[in-house]
Assembly symmetry: C2
Homo-oligomer: 314 residues x 2
């Protein structure tokens, strides 16, 4: 059976779907702006667990993951649809009020308006589909496909924290000092909308994606879409500072490479000196190469080939 | 506990959501056009059953219900997102290929492009969220809220057929002559996009909705949004001609009044002589009154008050 990326690639070919395959679809609409839209489906016990996430934090996260897709195009989020299907118990126990409270608090902070959606019922699992629409200046959406050999590769913030938080939750170990920051990375992700708008307007960004599947997978997506390779250096990676004391150096590095859901931005630029700004830190981690499809990983002077890791549903 | 309509009304009040409550949200975007968007969540064993609907016909229906919402605004559908969550068996057995085949066949006939979506996994139920975007000339979306006393009330096509088809499926009785047409009404609904565009451009339509919940409920939605009442006549209702032989006159009338999923258009106009056109039949069924919130139903010279029927998830 195909995995989910192969399945989507197959749909694209079969039906000649040219707008699928980036963080958002880009649709021309007016003389000044393009419309961008994205959808994210979250399923209980698959994409989240109520043992770990309150309904409020689920509401926050459902919106955050879609805002992160808008950010990855350099866009401005404007409106959203929420479709939910919930079991009878969750309808009756007030969970939905808390879900929408968490959703709305984050929406307010980015000026996003809830304009529609749907409600249905399930036999067990809570399912939410989060759709967000936004805009970018016409023709200025930052795609995955513009990276060119010689471009520098950058990432915002730090990597691996969300995977570390997930591991703590899985192990039931969330009371030690320092765990709070990792748990927040997993349960309360912050979409990098503001730094994305800064990058879009101030710098010559050639490609961008959000780190949702994991750095190795998401860098692979850029390389595939741009028909290039990449070389990144272990010593440059902004590994989350809270990871090492729990998991040691080696596992922390694996989490930074393959852990998903950090919702940072991974991007490329002709410029090699983009530095941090008020809205967030930016780190140069390597460069784009002409070695098509190959991601080289340099660590302690040794050079190996990085296979894409990260979570898949199928 | 609130029912789903009360819940949505509560959300609107709490968060001051002014764009929620019609078939689509209407969003200004360019000087010439407004963007309209809608979402419909379908859940296995709640909104459909694979014993009755093939994956192909589910793909068709998932799109049809959203196209019907676009039609209800007098709009032109343009693009769509599909988010699905499926159990492992359905991923492995080829159901998804058939689902997208059915979806795409209908999409092609209306020039709708699949531009995105998401894939996740469930423990049991197949869940699909269908999102469709489209456009209407700026300021020309037909809302539920424009009906005025004295307007004529119209419906396209015929009513009750989808409910009859559902009953045949529930009773396992689908082999008798004439059942095919009823089953098609339930499993293979046809969105009235073309007649809606004709109505939008040629007539002074004051309000419109699609018959998804059932005539009595959907007429109530128009009355509530427009702050009016309505009077409809039994003898004028275009009851599906295939119903009477299976269910008798009385039950057929109930299906026409309360059966959902016909996906016809219910609309009002100052004009009292709108007649059928090439793209479909149109029947005048009554008129708008100033009797706020009251739907009168006249049958054999007797006048009673119609309570809203139809399906609800909660």
């Amino acid at each position: 059976m195909p995995d989910e990326f192969q399945f989507i690639a197959g749909l694209k070919r079969k039906f000649d779907l040219n707008r699928i395959g980036d963080d958002c679809a880009v649709l021309p609409f007016s003389a000044d702006s393009d419309l961008i839209v994205t959808a994210d489906m979250l399923v209980e016990n698959v994409d989240f667990r109520f043992e770990w996430a309150s309904p409020e934090s689920l509401g926050h996260k459902a919106l955050a993951v879609s805002l992160s897709d808008i950010a990855a195009m350099g866009g401005e989020p404007l409106w959203a649809l929420i479709s939910i299907a919930v079991p009878k118990e969750r309808w009756d126990d007030g969970s939905l009020d808390l879900f929408y409270d968490g959703w709305h608090r984050l929406a307010l902070s980015f000026g996003v308006e809830l304009v529609g959606g749907d409600v249905s019922r399930t036999e067990g699992q809570f399912v939410v589909d989060s759709v967000v629409g936004g805009q970018v200046p016409r023709g200025k959406a930052i795609l995955r496909s513009g990276a060119r050999p010689g471009d520098s590769i950058y990432v915002t913030g730090s990597l691996g924290g969300a995977a570390g938080g997930l591991r703590l939750l899985e192990e039931g170990d969330n009371s030690r000092p320092g765990s709070t920051a990792l748990l927040r990375r997993q349960l309360n992700p912050q979409p990098q909308v503001n730094i994305a708008k800064y990058l879009q307007s101030e710098h010559d960004i050639t490609s961008m994606i959000d780190v949702s599947d994991g750095l190795s997978s998401d860098l692979r997506h850029i390389c595939t879409a741009s028909n290039v390779g990449a070389k990144i250096e272990a010593e440059l990676l902004p590994v989350d500072v809270g990871l090492a004391e729990y998991f040691g150096i080696e596992e922390s590095m694996q989490m930074a490479l393959n852990g998903g859901e950090d919702f940072e931005l991974l991007f490329t630029s002709r410029k090699n000196n983009i530095s941090s700004v008020e809205s967030g830190t930016i780190t140069r981690i390597g460069e784009v190469t002409s070695n098509v499809g190959i991601i080289e990983f340099i660590r302690q002077g040794k050079n190996c080939i990085l296979d894409p890791g990260g979570y898949r549903h199928f």
